[in-house]
């Protein structure tokens, strides 16, 4: 199976074509530097992303706290993680690094606050 990706390593944006079978990479072509190779291999086999969003805060100086997944999660789980956070709200104070949701969307990854929100 062949897939062509745009490398994100630099403004070049090389069109890198990967020939792969499941987890097995047969070839990577079109990249100008090794970064393209590394990126393309990961992107076709285990693409991951950090998800950042916000959740409601009660009694804080601001109405929301920004959050992120503590590490990257499988790319296809992005919407499920946000969906999971819909019903989450927290009480002030919130400290940067506080876990607001454990095991988001079954990824095993926690969602943590990225900001301090003191009490009003």
């Amino acid at each position: 199976m062949k897939r062509t990706l745009t490398c994100i390593g630099c403004p070049m944006g090389c069109q890198v074509t990967v020939d792969y079978e499941g987890e097995t990479i047969n070839s990577v072509v079109g990249n100008t530097c090794p970064r393209g190779d590394i990126y393309a291999r990961k992107e076709v086999t285990h693409p991951t992303r950090i998800v950042t969003t916000t959740v409601r805060v009660h009694g804080g100086v601001i109405p929301q706290v920004s959050v992120k997944t503590a590490s990257d999660i499988p790319k296809e789980k992005m919407f499920a993680v946000v969906q999971d956070l819909r019903c989450v709200d927290v009480n002030a104070p919130v400290a940067m690094g506080d876990v607001v949701l454990e095991n988001a969307a079954g990824t095993g990854v926690s969602v943590i606050a990225t900001k301090n929100v003191p009490k009003k």
Partner: protein, 422 residues
């Protein structure tokens, strides 16, 4: 009147880094004036990750990156006032400001550091015809509504401009449940980072239309649709290429302008090229004792460079205060000029006598160039020649100059930075 040795206008990434650097350089009398209710500036609403790779060797979100500097400023015991709007600055460095508790007040400073950041270009500056309904937002305003206030400004979105804020908002709005239909970009290339195009647009199947612009906005009360069209080489819409998109929102991400109204009140001269103050190697403006750094000086691509630049401004301001405001206007200065392919340079002059051993000149190129050399000329002589596979206006470039090289070049008048074909 109150007195501080250094007053910093703005508590965003530039102001915070400048304050910390000045303090660490031995300066104790520092005041930061911030108009928002918290320190951190625009980073508070930039909740996405990707900040700090250069500075901290890890990927942080905007609030986390700001948080590190806020903690440092607080730990260093630097004074700051929030919810405080600076109204004017005089050329003799009297800062007039206002807030609810102190009222209108003036502070006399030995040195002022301008760190007000930039603002977004509004629709009016683009002459987009059509109606003026609700539902037209700059990307940054939408970002504030979504990320700080928690409100969705729209459900079906067209974005004009592929600057990074626009790309980031395409992803944010999508993740929060909106449908982003298209991103139109006037230029034949995107001003945003490649990574953002892939992770904010491609990930969600959002089309990017280069060399396109919005030619009509419909909806008398709320936006009901926009029409985009392809443009020719002179950026004029090409008849017959119009495409209509029904939507309730148009987001504009069409450029940032350094916010220099206060600088002008102090008599600071601005560069027509980067729209920020003209500065020397110390990041000092034409008004002695007034320094500038961050996006008020020129719009940066990465916050890491803002912090680095602001650190220099903070150190230099502290040195200026230590010298007791001694006028160094008499020192000979060498001009730095943008040559072929270069949009602007910061700074515009360097005084070899008091420059640091290593000294960074930042600049942006005018277009996308492949396989070109970045060259530096000392008067007529080429002293640097570095090949780049690609340069683009969306990314800041830099060259590093050495004091000893400048010293070795007798009667140096002009340093030119240019692009040369391979």
């Amino acid at each position: 009147m109150e007195h501080y040795n250094i007053v910093i206008i703005g508590g965003g990434p530039a102001g915070l880094a400048a304050a910390a650097a000045a303090k660490k350089a031995g300066e104790d009398s520092i005041l930061i004036l911030e108009r928002d209710q918290e320190l951190g500036g625009i980073l508070n609403q930039c909740i996405h990750n990707g900040f700090g790779l250069h500075t901290f060797k890890e990927e942080l979100t905007g609030p986390e990156y700001a948080g590190r500097f806020i903690t440092e400023v607080k730990d260093l015991g630097i004074e700051y006032r929030l919810n405080t709007m600076v109204l004017s600055i005089s050329s003799d460095r009297i800062v007039t400001a206002m807030n609810r508790t102190d009222g209108m007040f003036q502070v006399k400073a030995q040195a002022v550091i301008l760190a007000m950041g930039c603002r977004e270009r509004p629709r009016g500056a683009l002459n987009i015809p059509g109606y003026r309904p609700a539902g037209i937002y700059t990307a940054g305003t939408a970002q504030r509504l979504v990320n700080i206030e928690g409100f969705m400004p729209g459900k079906e979105v067209v974005i004009l401009g592929s600057g990074d804020i626009g790309l980031i908002m395409a992803r944010r709005m999508t993740l929060e449940g909106a449908k982003v239909k298209v991103v139109a970009e006037l230029m034949p290339y995107s001003g945003g980072l490649k990574r953002n195009i892939v992770q904010c647009l491609d990930d969600f199947g959002i089309p990017l239309k280069l060399s396109h612009t919005v030619v009509d906005i419909e909806g008398k009360e709320r936006v009901t649709g926009v029409t985009i069209a392809a443009v020719d080489a002179q950026n004029r819409p090409i008849p017959g290429t119009e495409e209509h998109y029904s939507c309730d929102t148009l987001l504009l991400s069409v450029g940032l302008i350094p916010e220099n109204e206060l600088s002008l009140s102090a008599g600071v001269a601005l560069s027509p090229r980067h729209k920020g103050p003209v500065v020397n190697e110390s990041l000092e403006t034409n008004v002695p004792g007034i320094f500038a750094c961050g996006n008020v000086l020129h719009v940066h691509d990465l916050v890491d460079y803002v912090s680095e630049e602001a650190t220099n401004a903070g150190r230099n301001a502290a040195a200026f205060v230590r010298r007791d405001g001694k006028d160094d206007a008499a020192l000979p200065a060498v001009e730095i000029v943008p040559g072929d392919g270069i949009g602007y340079t910061v700074p515009e002059t360097v005084r070899p006598k008091i420059m640091n051993d290593l000294f960074t000149v930042r600049f942006r190129v005018r277009g996308v160039y492949r396989d070109h050399f970045i060259s530096v000329y000392f008067d007529g002589e080429r002293v640097q020649h570095r090949k780049k596979q690609i340069v683009a206006p969306g990314e800041m470039e830099q060259v590093i100059l050495q004091k000893k090289d400048l010293a070795a070049h007798k009667d140096l008048k002009k340093i030119t930075i240019c692009l040369e074909e391979a």
